[in-house]
Symmetry: C2
Subunit: 421 residues, 2 copies
């Protein structure tokens, strides 16, 4: 094992995690705040030596991501430390939407129920534990918006400082969410990809010393949080993998970790090994992975994003090659939808299931709708669609369609006139 | 038993509920869509004949309000019907806020985790069952905002029509939430109290036939949903009543039903009978109950609301006499806070616990803060504070305080300059 590049505090406890491992060349490293292989510059991910894990053990755990603590790089007592306890969000049976689309079995995994109303609370919760392990005093990130709120909220509750970076042109709700928890929120004049590059520079600078950038130097730990989506979906289906799953693609990390989570459940004997198709969803205004998929390419060409789905607006997604590999291996597709289709999908989901999704949820439901209507989905297969965020954060997307049907004086005659219209 | 004023469908099933009972004179009625006593015009509430209910039975139930179905006017199979499955929100141990206020034990009951992010999902869920029982095809309400979203979302999921009424000057988030689910949203030029009066007229009109107004003709059922807050708090504390609880007052119904819920738990032997103090919280810009409490009056003088806490802006709260009675009986108080104190409290809660509350949560945390700093709370008592809504719906309240600390070019030099400031 290669020596760690940072000194590990004596008290670190990462549960069943034993090393960082390069996804490209397999070189292993001690568990440290490292994210790239010094041999080949490949991304590092957490490697485990799992003991036996039973369904009963998990089911007896808390109703949060911590019920899966034995499968995450966290100590056994993680649930007792101050944290937002995200996860265990609803898997909603969507019979009315299924009927509209001609599908037999459809569920929405609705992560708008998380503490700051996006799936980011899952990944940040794991990063906070890593930050504690490494003795970092400040939590930081580059963010398209949801992450800024998740990081500053989690830092507030954990008693850590926070300094987060966002593109300066984000939705008001995300700006408020990124600053109300008392951390420092810095707007950057540029795209998310420029914000991200800036953060990578800051890590090498003394200014960023003792800072845990959740999606840079804590990324291997952080990214593991997305596995909990896979675990929860399988457990909530009655310890069964879905046959089709539609996942949004921003960096692509979430999709790869859900696949990793399914694989772990199979390996541990917690679910039956059966085939599942992974379907990736992008906005047409930022669809480098969908474009590469259609062209049969293994690598993507970066794009400059232009879409209302800002939480997915990553023009150079780091995990794109792995996403393409997983989608092709499982027999899925990567598809994209226009901004209009995103808005239509948000409204369709709200009208049929009473779920108000963020634009990212409009992307996944939009892709589901597109594939179903074009006959490109198996209508008999048990299907799960992710909604990773909350419509309250992207109000402008639907504001033009979501107004009072009338404004009247408080009189029956005035109401009769509107009904007669 | 007095004859029902409406015909009851043959298939109604209200679980352990056996009648409606007048809160003033005790006259009993069949379970119907009625809300006022024809003898004395007093409000009707649901009366039960409970069978034995055990902690184990409840704990084995779903993680939603339906775990308490045996204590609600709903059928045993209620959880199987399409519904939003609200409730079982987090009871957050708030050690950092407690430390700031000098309290020993403090929890936040955080109802922003409900499907439409307010406690209204609880009460609407019960009203939907009543609407089904009575064969109503349209769900309606007067709303200060949160209820409109809760009703239209629940109707969408249940496959019912919706037509809801709001004051025309509400926050954008609440307007969007009230219309995105596909129901009809009507803005009324007037205060909430005027909207409410309008709805009472509409019930007597053929236009409103077969309409279930959740907070008018379904109110006895609807109001019972607030009891689940009491049940959850007690269960989540380890089947124990809190010693102090801070509850916001709008109509006052929630406060009276939490008290009723605690009393039922004692009567059923599910918790030990110990004293608890009920503390009511209002905004100074709409504080008729706090004013009456301080003056030693039993009835309130209606006011015209002027506060940022719009979800509490009911100037003539129907349950005020019962609230005053409960608060005095338990040794509590009713207190109010200014709009500035509400904003400070929202920020305090966010900064210490990572919870972003609606203005109504700013009112309860503000009153807690005021009482604690003035030495009017028992610092040793186990205390629970309600947050009944989500900060994302009242962004404007904190927008002036929640901005980026800087907007810079993506360069280390630019960041250094802001840090040096």
């Amino acid at each position: 094992m290669v020596l760690a590049t940072h000194t590990k505090p004596a008290t670190t406890d990462f549960g069943a995690a034993v090393a960082l491992s390069c996804r490209e060349c397999g070189t292993r490293y001690d568990l440290g705040p490292d994210f790239a292989c010094i041999e080949c510059f490949g991304p590092l991910e957490v490697a485990y030596e799992f003991g036996p894990v039973s369904r009963e053990q998990i089911e007896a755990g808390p109703t949060s991501v911590w019920r899966y603590r034995a499968l995450l790089p966290v100590p056994a007592d993680v649930a007792d430390k101050p944290n937002l306890a995200p996860g265990w969000t609803k898997l909603v049976r969507a019979d009315r939407l299924a009927a509209e689309l001609g599908l037999r079995s459809l569920h929405i995994k609705d992560d708008s129920g998380n503490p700051t109303h996006s799936f980011k609370d899952r990944v940040v919760a794991i990063a906070v534990e890593a930050a504690r392990n490494f003795g970092f005093h400040t939590l930081s990130c580059s963010s398209t918006g949801n992450l800024a709120g998740a990081v500053t909220a989690a830092a507030a509750r954990a008693g850590l400082d926070a300094c987060v970076f966002i593109p300066a042109d984000l939705e008001q709700a995300k700006v408020v969410m990124g600053s109300v928890y008392g951390g420092r929120l810095v707007g950057i004049e540029g795209t998310y990809d420029e914000v991200n590059r800036f953060c990578s520079e800051l890590i090498g600078d003394p200014l960023g010393d003792k800072w845990g950038f959740v999606n840079v130097n804590l990324r291997p730990y952080y990214a593991e949080g997305s596995k909990t989506l896979a675990y929860e979906i399988a457990e909530q289906l009655g310890w069964r993998l879905p046959e089709q799953i539609v996942i949004p693609i921003a960096s692509g990390s979430q999709l790869t970790k859900i696949d990793k989570g399914f694989a772990e459940l199979i390996k541990l004997g917690l679910v039956e090994d059966r085939p599942y198709k992974v379907i990736g969803a992008q906005a047409a205004g930022c669809a480098p992975v969908a474009t590469a998929f259609r062209a049969g390419h293994d690598v993507i060409k970066p794009v400059k994003p232009d879409t209302i789905a800002k939480s997915l607006a990553i023009g150079n997604p780091a995990d794109a090659p792995y996403v393409l590999d997983i989608v092709r291996r499982t027999g899925g597709v990567v598809e994209d939808v226009t901004d209009d289709q995103i808005v239509d999908a948000i409204r369709l989901l709200a009208r049929t299931e009473g779920i108000f999704a963020e634009t990212a949820g409009g992307v996944t439901v939009g892709v589901l709708t597109k594939l179903a209507r074009e006959g490109r989905l198996d209508p008999e297969a048990e299907t799960v669609v992710l909604n990773t965020g909350d419509g309250l954060k992207t109000l402008d997307a639907v504001a033009a369609h979501a107004r009072p049907s009338a404004v009247i004086r408080p009189s029956l005659d005035a109401f009769r006139a509107t009904v007669a219209e």
